[in-house]
Amino acid sequence: MDKFRMVFQFLQSNQESFMNGICGIMALASAQMYSAFDFNCPCLPRYNLAYGLGILLVPPFILFLLGFVLNNNVSMLAEEWRRPRGQRGKDPAVLRYMFCSMAQRAMIAPVVWVSVTLLDGKCITCAFCTSVPMETLGNASHPGLSQGEMKQVLARIPCKEIYDGQELIDNEVAVRYLRCISQALGWCFVLLMTTLAFLVRSLRPCFTQAAFLKSRYWSHYIDIERKLFDETCAEHARSFAKVCIQQFFEGMSTDLADTCCHPPRKAPADVGEAAEKLLGITDQGTMNTALKSWHRCKPPLHLHPPALASGNGWAGDGQPPAHPPVPRREAAAYYSRV
């Protein structure tokens, strides 16, 4: 019992820190991914906006979904949401709490990506270079250039090597302008996100503390119960398998004793455990038969009480069985009142 308690405390205390760790790793991974990513603006009028905004918005969405995928509690939430009501009521507050805490953790990596992208400035420069205000930044107007041609020239601003509109607008001036706007947006975004996080964290104790404590307790409970149930099932499966295999070997040994003319076990009483563990199989041929039988014809998943061959099965009880041993091949149908 103590061992269980220690293991579960470790898992419990570790689940939160484990999830926070995954959260931090994803945030670092997102910053690293951005710096490793080779940003290549296409420098064509309509493609720039699509590429720039795509790089700004699509990876965060993917990171958000990944945050959910990597969170173990998603399946727990789904299970609790979809289970039939049965004898236990469902509390929507608990489901909301679980969803909110998962969503908060999953939001961190996308927010880091968007902030780093905006603070770096390449995406916005690529996306909005055709919208630069020519009146304030331009050198002189070229009446010869149509709107489309001007856009084509402006679209090449991010690509310094092929930019040929120096008379129209200085490349450095335009890039500086766009990067300034991008960084201002980036810092405003960071400020907004931290303000939101601060409000969420600080307003909660002011309003719904009791409900929060309840939801938190029961969401932890559901998690622990699920883990404990899995543990119990695993232990049960282990015992099941052990007894099943033991009965298989006993069955083999009995069959062989019946068919071959091997004398019954005549090991003296004091040989001890080693002889018992041999389960009556004491030569190569028998072992091979046992192994072949295990492969060709596994025993059914149906344990029976120990056979009466030893002859003293009932002696301990001192009474005859109330019912004759019924072959238990058929599955009993029963209606649970649990």
């Binding site: 039939p84 964290r201 009480p305 029963y334 649970s336």
Partner: protein, 298 residues
């Protein structure tokens, strides 16, 4: 009892050091963020001041809020402030103490950002290059004020073609950087003197109240942690009992409705305990289905 004492001491020593650790990490992160950040002044008359002052003041606000968010004690303090009085009186001195210690720790990273910004000088050069008096610097042609403003606005951009070899640009830049660094060092000196005085003079005033406030603020923190731990333990025991009860009820159902033989045989006895009377594939499937469709009531 000993175990509780060890836990108490662990929490006691660890709460303060955990908060100091977070404070230090945020301070380092703020320096790192500044060095990684690619400062690029727009060099346009209306935008310079907004950009320069924005970079100097917006990140510190974000860092301050981060410092409040990451500090566990801020939630504890808010809970203590907003809880109903009930049977336990509220001591405002304790809440004030907690508030001041939280704010002190949260202020470290923003102050470091501002000081690093000032000592580096780029922000102030960008923000105030347009406000410099052009009369003081030779090299600016007697052009219209608008043009002079434009030229001054371009001072932070070394690579601009107009400014590349302009000696006046360097003069203005040096002048502004000198002011910026002087301001930075002065602020640092004032803050350190203030911290020094606060720490040395505090024992002279209200030491007893301070000790009380500190004790009870630690107590509230530890009490909350232990409450959470106890809730965890309780839910584990609750779950354990619930599942055992579920298996037990299933076993009773099986006993009632199937022809189960009385248990015997020492070798299998221990295992049968663990098997809880469930010894068949169908029974296991039924149990698992029942667990899903009809969880036992709490």
């Amino acid at each position: 009892m000993d175990r509780f004492r060890m836990i108490f001491q662990y929490f006691q020593s660890n709460s303060e050091s955990a908060m100091n650790g977070i404070c230090g990490i945020l301070a380092l992160a703020s320096v790192k963020m500044y060095t990684c950040f690619d400062f690029s002044c727009p060099c346009l008359p209306q935008y310079n001041m907004a950009y320069g002052l924005g970079i100097m003041f917006v990140p510190p606000v974000a860092l301050f809020l981060c410092g409040l968010i990451l500090n566990r004690q801020s939630v504890v303090m808010l809970e203590e402030w907003r809880r109903p009085q009930g049977r336990r009186k509220k001591d405002l001195a304790v809440i004030r103490y907690m508030c001041s210690s939280i704010i002190e720790r949260a202020m470290v990273a923003p102050v470091i950002w501002i000081i690093v910004t000032l000592l580096d000088g780029k922000c102030l050069i960008c923000a105030f290059s347009g406000s410099v008096d052009p009369e003081k610097f030779v090299g600016f042609p007697n052009a219209s004020p608008v043009q002079v403003q434009q030229l001054l606005a371009k001072v932070p951009c070394k690579d601009d073609e107009l400014m590349r070899n302009n000696t006046s640009r360097k003069a203005v830049s040096r002048y502004l950087r000198c002011w910026s660094q002087a301001l930075g060092w002065s602020i640092l000196l004032i803050l350190i003197i203030a911290a020094f005085l606060a720490r040395w003079l505090r024992p002279c005033f209200n030491q007893a109240t301070l000790l009380q406030a500190r004790h009870w603020s630690n107590y509230i923190d530890i009490e909350q942690k232990i409450f959470e731990e106890t809730c965890c333990e309780h839910s584990q025991l609750f779950a354990h009992k619930c599942i055992l009860h579920f298996f037990e009820s299933m076993r009773q159902e099986i006993k009632l409705h199937s022809f189960s033989l009385p248990r015997k045989g020492e070798g299998v006895e221990g295992e049968e305990d663990l098997l809880q009377g469930i010894t068949d594939q169908d029974q296991v499937n039924k149990l698992l289905k029942m667990w899903y469709y009809e969880k036992p009531p709490l």
